[in-house]
Symmetry: C2
Subunit: 563 residues, 2 copies
Amino acid sequence: MERLARRLAVARGDEAADVVVRNGRVFSAFTREWLDVDVAIVDGAIAGLGDYTGRETIDAAGRFVVPGFIDAHMHLESVKLLVEEFARLVLPLGTTAVVADPHEIANVLGVDGVHWLLDASAELQLDVFFMAPSCVPASPFESPRRPLTDGDLEALMRRRRVLGLAEMMNFPGVIGGSPAELAKLALDGAAHVDGHAPGVVGKALHAYAATGIGSDHEALTVEEGRERLRAGMWLLIRDASMARNLDDLLPLVHEFGPGRIAFCTDDRDPEDIADRGHVNGIVRDAVAAGISPEDALLMASLHPATWHGLRRHGAIAPGYQADLVILPDLERFVPDLVLKRGAPIADTPRPPIPEWIRQTVRVRRVTADDFRIPWAGGDARAIGLIPDQVVTESLVRTPRVTDGAACADAGLDLAKVAVLERHLTTGRIGLGFVSGSGLRRGALASTVAHDAHNLVVVGMTDQEMAVAVERLSELGGGIVAVAGDDVLAECPLPVAGLLSDAPLDEVIARSRACNEAAASLGWSGTTPFLTLAFLPLSVIPHLKITDRGLVDVDRFELVPLET
Amino acid sequence: MERLARRLAVARGDEAADVVVRNGRVFSAFTREWLDVDVAIVDGAIAGLGDYTGRETIDAAGRFVVPGFIDAHMHLESVKLLVEEFARLVLPLGTTAVVADPHEIANVLGVDGVHWLLDASAELQLDVFFMAPSCVPASPFESPRRPLTDGDLEALMRRRRVLGLAEMMNFPGVIGGSPAELAKLALDGAAHVDGHAPGVVGKALHAYAATGIGSDHEALTVEEGRERLRAGMWLLIRDASMARNLDDLLPLVHEFGPGRIAFCTDDRDPEDIADRGHVNGIVRDAVAAGISPEDALLMASLHPATWHGLRRHGAIAPGYQADLVILPDLERFVPDLVLKRGAPIADTPRPPIPEWIRQTVRVRRVTADDFRIPWAGGDARAIGLIPDQVVTESLVRTPRVTDGAACADAGLDLAKVAVLERHLTTGRIGLGFVSGSGLRRGALASTVAHDAHNLVVVGMTDQEMAVAVERLSELGGGIVAVAGDDVLAECPLPVAGLLSDAPLDEVIARSRACNEAAASLGWSGTTPFLTLAFLPLSVIPHLKITDRGLVDVDRFELVPLET
């Protein structure tokens, strides 16, 4: 209350502000105007716009002052960085808040992992909001360490900074009226729910929306996006590292205005952020594609805040949090200066990582024999990779048979894939084939493997697959590229098998080395390890693989390798 | 959950809907389109839009299907009807929800009165939402039965259908940082707060907005409205019986779009609703003034719902409450049919009114002498009436002196005004003059007298003023017009001295008779008793009167009658 009284005194002009941003062109999110006003800041909040004096003055002459960018939906774990390192990466790019769905760490470490991430982000300058992971496991075909219960979710949603229920990925369950899924939607705190409805259209989409699930970030086409808007859902336009939907969906902004549209990154790897920027990069690309800077800014600030009910975020107006980005132009969207709660970006300490977060890869020792697929001959299902997409095709291939076993074959562009349960040392392995990777030799493996984050490995020989798995087991998680008995490149991710404890630059260097090693082994796509990571995600069409076997996502059931 | 499962089955097309609205042009609030789709309704909610079958079919061929209208801010008590009678009046006009600030009854009956109103409206078809009255008393110069405490407010805000804190009328207190006012804004449940900032501009407005108060319905000009939008406040365009701001503010819709603008009626008397309609009348007038039907509809449905966080109201989309208005045209906006939660309008029983609600007028017996103003001569402050506005002017007049007392004088267009405390029988009377009423003889009195609802009387002789007061005392409240010893017309309002227990038609007839009687006595404005009712409202500029005396609202202090 003392703070509020001081804010009012500054607003009235009776007391000097802490900081005044002068001479800039200030974006008024509510009227889409550029105002020539001072911005008076006190105690981290905006007191008033107009003619003010302050103890400190920032000159924004000739520059644009816009609200901090907000990522409407993302997974911290995809960035492979500790959250404070992520903050170091994106704050200078103008991202001042993110809404994270921590379902990756929830799969590995249960509610404990989510609480740890909440605690680890509590004192950061970056505002990290959360949604409670709604689908752990994402489907009955996946094996997280343990399922999250309704009680877990209700407790999580009572924590500060937890805004609601994260993407309801079990869309077939929701649409079909599964009591377990409907029970989640009836939980205390679940008035605000993100959606996830890839390819869902028509009556099925209306059923999904009729539950009150209010957003979707899985639309791929104008038609799908239009349907979602008409159904009352917010359209979160995703520009992820692997799923880039921006260009395809921007026509909707021309058609309907930016009304209920917001930007999100969903899954971005660190090198992609280093290369293309973060939310600011989406704004830049949208403007380059013909969207007005004002509309693009709204979709990157006020609109994500509005969708998530963050009342004091996303605009430059009295009483709003003073998250300001000062831009030299409205083309590149690279900030000259970022003020977070009115202050320049400061460094944050690196808190120690507890042991229980680091010891999460528990696979039995494996040998080449564990990957053998006894085969009498004939057709097999194969996962068809689509470059840089999370969706796959369901193909039929005829594997080469050697010594009574189905084998990978570079000539057929057919590699072997395995998913090994890694939380409870059950020894469960799912085996199958992928087509279209381009891999000619060696093996790639990762403990980042959505959503249960068991261990996924793709390889051309059983022996190399075994080497890759053994190496990840030694590292406590990560990604690795193997040829023969040699590790060509690796990026250790010892934190839950998902995150590095190294600084950004090292993570990017190692991640790039892994990508290059994959390319040297023949992999043809640009994002080999992201592709790997989504092979086990059993809620994205069409054919996927988990430790329990192949999943036909359209039929939503396990299917045998044989056709 | 069973309901939700059924809704999904209908949405999917697996079960028949309860009702399907066919062949209409359906307004899509989120895309501003007119869609040629069926609307499938089950259990009072919309299941889906598309091609559906139902047990019952409503043919809307050639007609427009739009979301029910929502009044963003209003006072039930102004309509002078019991809430069920109000519902009977406005539901057929397409109003399916209102957000009411029950501060009138709170002034008369404390929190008990608010709970009674909440209970009385619980089972109605009309959705009646409430905001907790933030300013009882509206200022220290007013005398309600008792002040509402912070604890009262916190308890109220925990009741279902109470959305937040109602208009913060003590804007000088808020802007000045009064600890008592800031404490209210810090209460649990007070994240959502309506504003009331007449004439407040510049830094004072920014101070007001910086507290988080998020709307204002007191803007009178484009400039004021523009400032409010820029400051991040919702602009509630008011079209009340006495304060008609629609035409003055509509240019803002052209300038900025309807984005954060919604319609409200604030204070409407019943005959005005009978004559001009309710929210549908605002839509009609806005369209007649050149606003597109789509924009006008948004400001009357989705936007009020959005401002108040009523997530399942204000649009025709899956999961939304099935409040539908079927219109034959987009000019008159008179519904052919209103569906409330999917059902036609039904009649409601009239519950008994408890005795404690009916016995609220407690004034000491008065005689002419109580109104005498001893006066040696010289200038006096006089309240200058502005026809059909709630604001007044602060004038100086020289009253005629007779027998050592200042008197009313038709020649000077000067009438006497008194406000008598009526809750606790203290006998406190405030005395003064009004200029510009046109009154030539007789007296008008009312127990509707914002906000404390003490008894206000304006008259040309002390004797007639006494007769009018005595009559209201006998009636237990109401409005009355007196000439000599005769009651020319009266409208009893025995419920808290604010509401009638008679049916609508009788109330309108009596109310009109009172207005005609006032005109016959010389009153020149069209809304004599509304004008009377706002004379004691000490938070509207510029000069007002309460039982404690004259209030200079700009200086926010009591001032003597002598200048």
